[in-house]
Symmetry: D3
Subunit: 305 residues, 6 copies
């Protein structure tokens, strides 16, 4: 079972201007082969399908627990996409005249269906608009192989994050990339340690792949400073304690990162607010003339307290 908390994993700055092509770039990190839907989908189904769970608790727990963090990553990138498509958000009071092609600019953005169909919202597609699908999932039930796959997946995800980062200059998507680079690094490290335990191969020495330190990414710096790269959050009220057998256990941060011991943190990070996406009545979000809708909602809300 899963619980939901109405917060993002970090506070996400609003963009200074609307930038649908930057939003489309972020989609690579959402629905691409090496995006967050893939890390989520792989770990989610691997955790469901995990064989001999009770005998392999630390390994099962690792996959199952990281799954929950990935849900928050999908949420984070999706919010980034929606913010960049929406822009800074000047609230319209009500729907404008729609007969003068108010959204003509949307005709020329790279992925125009994201406006027509989603009103700027995120969907699980890659930066070319191709759908995420089952071909992006590996779940064989062989523990060594699945962990090896996951290690490779996190390295690939890192490469894609780095390249997306290099194409965007707005603060919203850079914050997304900066944070996810640190957290993805933790996951790559964790899978490497799991593999080392099971096979004796010091595969964590392959990190970082690609061969660049996070210290070169200003947006990652604050997360390194606070030690995020050494923390594996236990995203659960009470479960998955056994992951301490893998993450921790005397293991330390990777050589190029700020030094220190690895630690399991109970519970999720403090997180930041879910961004308010201003509706755009002339785009029929939440609807053309939303005032009555807002009144109804207010009335219901009051009743609920």
């Amino acid at each position: 079972m899963f619980l939901r908390i109405d917060k993002l994993q970090i506070e996400l700055p609003k963009p200074a201007k609307q930038d649908p092509n930057a939003a489309a770039a972020l989609l690579e990190l959402l629905g691409g082969k090496y995006g967050e839907m893939s890390t989520l989908g792989n770990y989610l189904f691997q955790s469901f399908n995990f064989r001999s769970k009770s005998k392999l608790k630390p390994f099962y727990g690792l996959v199952a627990n990281i799954t929950a963090e990935e849900l928050g990553h999908v949420e984070l990138v999706s919010n980034g996409v929606a913010l960049l498509n929406n822009g800074p958000g000047e609230p319209e009071t009500t729907g404008e005249d729609i007969s003068d092609a108010p959204f003509e600019a949307m005709k020329d953005i790279r992925l125009a269906a994201s406006f027509f169909s989603n009103g700027g919202g995120a969907t699980p597609v890659n930066s070319n608009g191709a759908s995420w699908n089952v071909d992006h999932i590996t779940t064989t039930g062989n523990v060594i192989f699945d962990l090896l796959h996951n290690f490779h997946l996190e390295c690939g995800a890192r490469l894609h994050k780095l390249r997306v980062y290099e194409t965007v200059s707005d603060k919203t998507s850079r914050e997304v990339c900066g944070y996810l680079l640190v957290r993805g690094g933790v996951h790559a490290h964790a899978y490497a340690l799991a593999l080392k335990q099971l096979t004796g191969v010091e595969i964590e020495k392959m990190l970082p792949t690609p061969n660049i330190q996070l210290s070169k990414i200003p947006e990652s710096q604050k997360y390194l400073d606070e030690g995020s790269h050494r923390r594996l959050y236990r995203f659960s009220p009470n479960d998955y304690q056994e992951i301490r057998g893998i993450w921790g256990n005397g293991e330390r941060a990777l050589p190029g990162d700020p030094p220190g011991e690895l630690e399991v943190v109970d519970g999720p990070p403090e997180g930041g607010r879910i961004p308010e996406l201003e509706g755009i009545p002339s785009a029929f979000t939440p609807d053309y003339a939303p005032e009555e809708m807002f009144e109804i909602a207010t009335k219901l809300w009051k009743k609920s307290r």
Copy 2:
């Protein structure tokens, strides 16, 4: 953000025998157009993309909160699939002789790739093996339309659950269907009430669609008896309280179901154990000769405490 609890929403009985075609039938409820991946995917992305969240809290909260329950439904169906592919689970001590075609029967099952590639695990495909994908998601940002879509989606999901139920005779998949029929009914009812608040149309009078009472489904009976059809769980430590404005508020159970008031329940249901899937070393799950792996895991687990 999301938290994970290492339990299923209900206790799932183990099947008396392996039945890969029943597992394939359940896949319709996992990765089909009207399956749980679709309800999850629709509500997940709708909640990310929701416009004017602060002004529409009860509606936003409804979609966001049900999302968390759907995650557990995906988990429940997936566990059902894996159990049916695995069978009752006689533990092998170690890998057997593999040169005598020990899995010849798998060659003739309907979706043979589920053995070759997933070792019997679940993946997000439908009962014909076609992948779940973005075409199964509607997220327009228009509140009325998205709610109408969701209402239709839950009715369609009910129809598919009923038909899958009619093809299976094992207790595992019937329990899955029996439970999900009740919970899907709650969601259909909830979206109907939301639409009624916003439009005045008493669309809940269209329920149940299809036109059959759950009292005809023995496996649903105990959930009706305990009032599950009147409960909307708040799958969150502290958030989404505003849904009480929609679910509750004097509204009552649908005419054909056991009578009573609708109520919001704080927190998830008690739930049942995650089933232990016995590994099958000769199928390389968790691996061919897993004893050493088990020892390592035990050692790490002890260290973690």
Copy 3:
């Protein structure tokens, strides 16, 4: 069986200039999830698969008859796409020098394959170039559910038409949108009335969704003026008379539209000419040096009379 008439449902103005990105926008209304291929595909297969046709004639007739109109909608949007890709059409006498990159501009249009592969013609893809496919079809055989699906589909189609309309400023695609908004409104209304007959729920009160009157769309005005929103054409020489039981029957136009009774019109609308798409020999349409081809055709045509 189907017959074909060599006319469009309306006279379509030629665009003042070539605009491939506007053509790509229109594709959302052709091959998108809520486009005309979807309305066509859903009703076509629902009509084939309709159970108990003789006992449910008015409902069967409604779906079967609207199917024929949707074929004309697919034709209308496709012609719009081809016109916008072709432009106003200055006839070339024969193929030009092709070695100087005469179509360099096509390299940068959003969906370049529409030039390379289709010479500017329409195909059933959405505005991102993704193919229409079976995932866009719902045909369950359950009458209530299929009608509910269709009602939701028409509301979604309306939303997409509105958004495409807001991005285009040429008269061709605006005429397409203006007309289809009126006709799609009729279909939504018709399915609502069918559902009301079967369930008693006054679901037509949810219309219009999105919440904007067609009077705000200048291009829809003439169709409203002539009462198109009150007419259901019987697209058949002799069949589907039973639809009068649903459309008509004292029911009247929706509140925001010009008032009046609903009426079934025997036969199709008068329609407009199929636009002549000038060939572009340098793009090999109909071919590089088409003169001989034209002569042959003329000779054959004469012989045919």
Copy 4:
């Protein structure tokens, strides 16, 4: 524009028993690469996108007119699929007890989703359940090439029909194959004649491909006897007269078929009744307890007269 007539192109016998795998075989002729959706889709979009229509009337007319016949072929195969999935159709009076796995057999059919999702209805997929899509369409705007493609497509369609025919023994699908083999032969012949007019190449001498006479197919015999192989129906009230320039014109039946001149027939064939598909209330078609629905329909029908 298109009109619809509530008849099939031929009278289709009901099968003696339910045979979902035969229905799945027929799907190859519906949604396969060389199926009727493909012939329809190719000619439909080619006719929309046809360049220089007024100068190439006989060729435009040929493609446009055959499109209308293909709609009826899609309808014919779809009805065959639905009939074979439904079986001879003993009417249930109302829904049965659904708790005893009444449809257990459906779990093992080749394409189980056709039951779960479509209640036995047809959808545009091939015999493996893969969706028809835009990759099955060629529409380049080059007249010679598109006609050559169509000639190849009809030959491929013939090969697939022959192979499906060889796997089925029920009278329903054999009738479908027997008829479509004759009509597909007409289309191949017609495209060959068009190509001969334009290029001088006597490509009709390649027919029949594959190299077998229709006289070997008993189910084709009656259609040969009535001369169907020499007739091109003009599926239009008034248009496409120019096709006489290609079909006719002194051309005669192919050597291996009953001899005679080719002729254009005004209007569609007489056709046969649309088969009544009995609903199966326990499968929720048209619904579980359909009596009230039937009453409502009867009342509306009476009102409509």
Copy 5:
């Protein structure tokens, strides 16, 4: 550039009987995510896209050269598929009576389209009939990551080969599996050694994954005996000599395999005959009445000498 030799990499025994479901099982090794099309596609495009080829010759050469072997693997599996669909092959003299459902059995095989559309031939799909596609390709241009991906890919391919092997009992597909397990092992080992050179991580110690020695596979034994597991063939007249820097260099066979030094072999293995697939005229392969075709071919062949 590529050259072709009209031989298979090994002599492939004919099956004792037709077995379409075994053929479908082999398809997992052809078009599945971890099949030969994937190893081919990944290395082919990685070799095209390789950056700084001249500075990284041993690594470029490794990927480029293995590509050529993978082409032969695709060929080998495809021949296995076609043989199993065809059976031992009693030559028909000419087409039989086709009106008595001579291929009725094909209606019930798992992937019936392989008969209808391919006459039993192989196509790049997986064991469920889903198409191979670009999602199965990783080519990032980052050398470490692409090699890591390839290492994981070969381990995954091994797991899938093992499972397919466990479901088949005919000698044809077992020979395919037995040989490919040895050769895939070489590729996994080679990529491991390349990674070790670049990163220092002894990742080859993770082999074999899954954790089973090839000595348990009788069909692999003769290839181990002849030392195939120690040989990297240089599939090129003159190029890719630099691979000796990686394969060889004092490295030795993996611990569980017959011991010895690794060696690069110049040129391809001796190979075996391309199997003769007897045509089945009644299935229209090569055609219904092929005698004349054979005569023409004989005449042309004589002329060519």
Copy 6:
């Protein structure tokens, strides 16, 4: 089996500037329905699945041998794509500062995923980014039909090459088009001659389709001058000699091309160098700080000699 030679079929000029949209245009010729992956895939699988090979040697040999040339075409187009994405290639000494959006321009290219995921490398997709897949393959085992399909495929490929040519002005992609137009012409001609032998139909008289002489393409001229249009290369050390029965045999060049006899050439063309693609460390190709990698490679290379 296949061998690989480390050369392209021609020397390919480097582009004067980076042009990702031209690269995307070339993708139509790589992964489009009528691109080189399709010619390759069709002939590859047809050659595997060819029935009665020994009795139909000239025809089998034709398909099998052309397959090998198509591999080189896939290689040629892929190299063109990578060159255009890379540009003229100023070598970076090591990775630059990546925090200032050095690749911002990539955000706006038509197919941004080609940068994010492939670092500018080629993958088998069309010019809209849609994946090549099994729907692009026809392999029925019927010789006449498969050859007819191939003839149509080559004509379609020619049309697509012509249109791509008309959109590009850089010398790299024009050279690719100019060469492939000549070679594709040879293949169309060869399949036509094969069909003529088998059916007597002089289908080669339909060439060229589209109706334009290659003399209008300056980049094709040198290949015509050297007689490339009259040569069928035997891409094999010793096999496929029987193709002389079809290509040659007194047949001559097509009327519009430089005259002369057709000839089979033993062995591949001389070919040109594989272009060096400079790595871009800041894009992590081959990696961020590649110096050590280069040193390792040099050391290994030396050892290999």
